[in-house]
Symmetry: C2
Subunit: 268 residues, 2 copies
Amino acid sequence: MATGRTHRPATRSRGIPEATVARLPLYLRALTALSERSVPTVSSEELATAAGVNSAKLRKDFSYLGSYGTRGVGYDVEYLVYQISRELGLTQDWPVVIVGIGNLGAALANYGGFASRGFRVAALIDADPTMAGKPVAGIPVQHTDELEKIITDNGVSIGVIATPAGAAQQVCDRLVAAGITSILNFAPTVLSVPDGVDVRKVDLSIELQILAFHEQRKAGEDVAVPEEGAAAAVPPPPVAPHRAPPGATAADSGRQGPDGDVPAVMPA
Amino acid sequence: MATGRTHRPATRSRGIPEATVARLPLYLRALTALSERSVPTVSSEELATAAGVNSAKLRKDFSYLGSYGTRGVGYDVEYLVYQISRELGLTQDWPVVIVGIGNLGAALANYGGFASRGFRVAALIDADPTMAGKPVAGIPVQHTDELEKIITDNGVSIGVIATPAGAAQQVCDRLVAAGITSILNFAPTVLSVPDGVDVRKVDLSIELQILAFHEQRKAGEDVAVPEEGAAAAVPPPPVAPHRAPPGATAADSGRQGPDGDVPAVMPA
DNA sequence: CCCTGTGAAGATCTTCACAGCA
DNA sequence: TGCTGTGAAGATCTTCACAGGG
């Protein structure tokens, strides 16, 4: 009730489908590589392969941007790089602040892919007083107390949260209150933000879990169907509506123990 | 042609939709938090809020796993934690190797969310000889030469690539040849892998670009439609089929310069 | 002919809304 | 009566397949 909206930039922005927007950076990357090799034009087939998608999808995606290709020839690399950059809003400079300078925050600060796309790390912020002043990636870390001032003075609208899960929501609230309207969240928590603020999350743990799911399927492909029936020592009661034994049950294999998602040294 | 398949685990595995699989980790995280607070049961509404989705979607997702709830009551937290963990394959231990111990690789090695989900960092591998033996997150870094042996000896099936883009495909090929069948790629490159190998990618730069796209829209909401017509100094020829001026064109705003996607100190 | 641009079909995913069990 | 489980409708996304310009 009091937590407001969450995630997703809602529907599509103008007429470009979200799925297409999510792929534009992929095309841009492939095109930039071609541009550097001075390749003048590419066919949808070639570019699609370079970007890791199929050509029909790519052509459909580009059709939302306009008719930037030439039938019988392909697309002009430089021109397309410009058009996509413009569409993504990369023809302008985006100051960004990174909050939480632990292992991950430092890695992000050092990440070269930022500057190359128009993103400029305007400031690094951390709650640890002893970090203040210390340079990371050539930028001096500033204390959380300065957060509001930093954002206002630099006109920052995009913030990156790389703090432990426990501090994420609080940092998020301050960022939003200070004027931030886009957040990239690396902390393993669901952030509550008011309407109008976009949040995108990156959770390493989730990606690995998805891989594990498929990996498990591969292994079990020949082992019949270990559906129900196998595991003879753990499976808890299939029907335990009221008060299920809170003790054991999930603490079997010696994992999933006391850690949840908030501890972690650095959320990734 | 010679690059083989890429990305995506193909269709769905058994009957669980990919979209649902991708959300199971979210539910698991929320459930784990409830479990730690000793909450016995939750309604789809409460759990949905905690996970950041709507209840209808959550119930539909759970319906693919089976009927684990109790009408009129809700879901037993412990039981659901177990069922989802089992479904995701987290009731077993997954040894993982991280290749490329730069800023990012180190951050990943230190990430606590791994162990808490059944993932065990079996080894850290780096191509820099001077790194060999140095402990990161308590684990001594090993040289790339040992890659095959490490994977074989530890029965590793999941690998994380955190190398610069230029080394990614080569590392990927070695991992696959050594037996790895699931890869989490942080390098900004499209990896080519044979059928049967899953690749999931995480690209920070892409997430920021998507945020920039929406951010741009917000700002322009009141500024009419700066479609075509504005920007009077840059927009390249709308129709330049053959040989477009390879010189300028995209090197306007002083960004997008000589960097592409391969340089970066550490791919994130 | 080659390759783009796109209507239409097909596949997925999401949301609705309510039957039905506890 | 409360809340799950789910058929069906609706919204998106993907893929097909071909019209049509160069």
